[in-house]
Amino acid sequence: MTVTNIVHTAGAPIGTPASPDTALACSTQGLSVAYRAEPVLRSVDFAVPQGVVMGIVGPNGAGKSTLIKAMLGLVRPLTGASEFFGQPLARTRKRVGYMPQSTSVDWDFPTTVLDVVTMGTYGSLGWIRRPGKRERARAVAALEQTGIPDLASRQIGELSGGQRQRVFLARTLVQAPDLYFMDEPFQGIDAKSQQAIVSVLHTLREQGKTVVIVHHDLATVRDYCDHVTLLNRRVVASGPADESFTCENIRTAYEVTAGDDAFLEFAS
């Protein structure tokens, strides 16, 4: 597979991609988002080659989640557009999976873990069809993959934070997409759940899937991601981790003065 190399830094002109857009899992062009009159993202050009694990890294309020939401049409962008496998989202929705931060969920909802995971199949069912045996079997398989098949009949609110994250990962896996968006999957979870999610990540990479992860723990970026985008309202750097995840770029993204050694040790 040809991996498009589009390392660039802020302000510098964007290199022309060497291969056609179809080699990209997703891309945005000039994407800007403003909440009220305050710009959160400024003209973001962002591209993810197929088959990589791309980490979106940046300080709080850098617009990491907003970037994903704007790409998926959950937030209306001010300017710019996004493409998935060279096409608009409406045409490729079934190839795209989204694992949101779990804050938008109603934890007291009367539903079981298996039910929640089965919801991942609803998108492919169309308007009226109901999930059947096949969908439930897929849900069970996804629960096994995330290591929590024994929780299948629990009410969703009874789970711990890490278990909940694994349920939402399973719900995304059930969709069997080619491109995964994960919003802070490692946020506030136990070590065992973290391991389970990491092992799923490895499997996905082996299967040649593309994963985009919003991540904010600089120390583990290199462990999970082979591509990194440093974001702070605009793209500071993007590309293979060796080239983009450098001291200089991290400093720029986190707006730290040169010489602060705490940031240096994670960099390439």
Binding site: A34, A37, D45, A47, L78
Partner: protein, 316 residues
């Protein structure tokens, strides 16, 4: 009708000042319900006022042998039962997974349903001075007496005084309940006091404008006032002013126009004030916001296009 002529008439004067008092008190105290994000609690309170006043009526007539239409007795009954309804709604959310909207709906219907059953019991008995359900649903501003007016002014002043005495606690609690608890103020005590003032504000209007429309007196003025001011004192004062002016104008219009009922006209006047505020207030309004947003968008777009001009079309 000239204003002097209007104010020279006893009934008109009672309607005018009576509804203005209601509007002032409900508007000012409604601000806290609004900031507490629980404006609709006033709808629960006004519906719970039905069994409250009926119980007071029964107690006054049967136990005390007094006049069943005594305003003070009715207000005390309504305040007690209204507070119970609030405590029920908030208590349900505290002890179970039921959320506040559902808890309020349950409380409203249970208390109102109970009131309807009481109503039937009263209707079947021979009590002097009993009224029909429509008196409670829509109220009647034209029967406000001097005694009623003094009662509402006294009780309303009491509620406003409570608000001023506990101003600091109310402000802190509505803004950041956790912080106020950490500082050592018992959340439940403040809550009960605050809701008690809201109950009083709601209840004093039920006789004149009815239990169905009272919610508008508590919800609308604060929602309008919020668009013009950034401070809590400013909001409470303006909200009270909007309530009083809206009620006065509505009452005046209803008398001048003749056949049109007072309560509904006041509600429409308040709604008009709200719409004007929402559309035209200089800082926060739909129009100013739309204009500033469009401007900011245009400026941002221009800036972004300029910045990326050298790279334009690079990805295509």
């Amino acid at each position: 009708m000239s204003l002097i002529e209007f104010l020279g008439n006893h009934t008109y004067r009672m309607v005018f000042f009576g509804t203005m008092t209601i509007g002032l008190v409900a508007g000012a105290l409604g601000s806290f319900a609004y900031l507490r994000k629980q404006s609709l609690i006033s709808d629960v309170i006004s519906h719970a006022a039905l069994p409250g006043t009926l119980l007071a009526f029964l107690t006054a007539v049967v136990v005390l042998g007094a006049d069943g239409r005594n305003m003070i007795a009715l207000i005390i009954g309504a305040v007690i039962v209204g507070t119970l309804a609030v405590l029920f709604a908030n208590g349900v959310t505290r002890v179970s997974k039921i959320r506040i909207d559902t808890a309020m709906a349950v409380s409203l219907t249970v208390f109102f349903g109970g009131g309807m059953l009481l109503m039937r019991i009263i209707a079947n008995g021979a009590f002097p001075g009993k009224g029909g359900i429509q008196d409670y649903l829509f109220g009647n501003a034209s029967v406000i007496t001097i005694a009623d007016l003094t009662t509402s002014i006294t009780v309303g002043a009491l509620a406003l005084a409570l608000m001023l005495v506990f101003w600091k606690e109310f402000a802190l609690h509505t803004f950041d309940p956790d912080h106020s608890t950490v500082l050592g103020f018992r959340a439940r005590t403040i809550d009960t006091l605050m809701f008690a003032t809201i109950v009083i504000a709601t209840v004093i209007g039920v006789k004149a404008v009815g239990l169905v429309l009272m919610v508008a007196f508590v919800v609308t003025p604060p929602a309008a006032a919020r668009q013009w001011t950034r401070t809590l004192p400013g909001m409470v004062a303006l909200s009270g002013l909007f309530g009083a002016v809206g009620s006065g104008v509505g009452a005046y219009l209803s008398i001048v126009l003749g056949r049109v009922p007072t309560g509904p006209l006041i509600v429409l006047t308040l709604f008009a004030i709200f719409l004007v505020s929402l559309l035209f207030s200089p800082r926060r309004s739909i129009i100013t916001r739309a204009i500033s947003r469009t401007r900011a968008r245009a400026a941002l777009k221009r800036e972004l296009l300029l910045a990326s001009a050298p790279a334009e079309g690079a990805l295509r």
